[in-house]
Symmetry: C2
Subunit: 143 residues, 2 copies
Amino acid sequence: MAHPDDGLDGAEGFRVMQEPLPQPMRIYVCTTCRAEGDASDGPRAGTRLFDALKAADAALDLVPVECLSVCKRACTVSFAATGKWTYVYGDLPAEAAVPVIREAARLYAEAPDGLIPWKLRPDAIKKGVVARIPPLPIEISRP
Amino acid sequence: MAHPDDGLDGAEGFRVMQEPLPQPMRIYVCTTCRAEGDASDGPRAGTRLFDALKAADAALDLVPVECLSVCKRACTVSFAATGKWTYVYGDLPAEAAVPVIREAARLYAEAPDGLIPWKLRPDAIKKGVVARIPPLPIEISRP
């Protein structure tokens, strides 16, 4: 049996094809996350991750957050976009997580519902998942 | 120092007073969550929790979800509302969690930003927090 969170829609396990829309997505980064070995007078692992992501890709919509309440699994980020599933990932190795976060963000942006197909998910994203939350209904208004 | 997630806004630790608006909130309940001791041929703990919440309060906007990806901390629920912080809670004791979820939901609905003041949070909600995610910006349109 497929895992319920396998990035597939429908009982038969196939995805309804649709044009991926360029949905704006946001990445929340917990800047309070502290890693083992962090110097008490230096920037925390979460802050270092935020700064490294910002330096690596100016196109990312990065928002620093004081505590995502996942304190035992630093570093932590969340992907969110209107109409998509929200994901929270932890156990990320600060600066070293930049490439995997960028790759996962690209896949998330491409997925119409935010569900990245299981096989495409980087290992750190498979193992680091903390939670996922369905999208709230969107009110569609026509001008 | 106050914990960053203490339900207070502002550097001085006071909440800007405003009329609480009756915001519609939604409760997602993971119906796949399995508890130790669940009979293999009976309903899972998550499904029992969903059914018990539904029976207890017809006014709740309950949505069953196949997997919130918090499989190691059954049972699991999430509170969400447009413009409010999203919360994910785990370690909930199936049917026995109904009163605490109803109380926390009432407090969440009353909180303009979804942040329940720390002192008012039921213990199971303090200890069971899995993650919190800030609200996405709301587009305000005037007809």
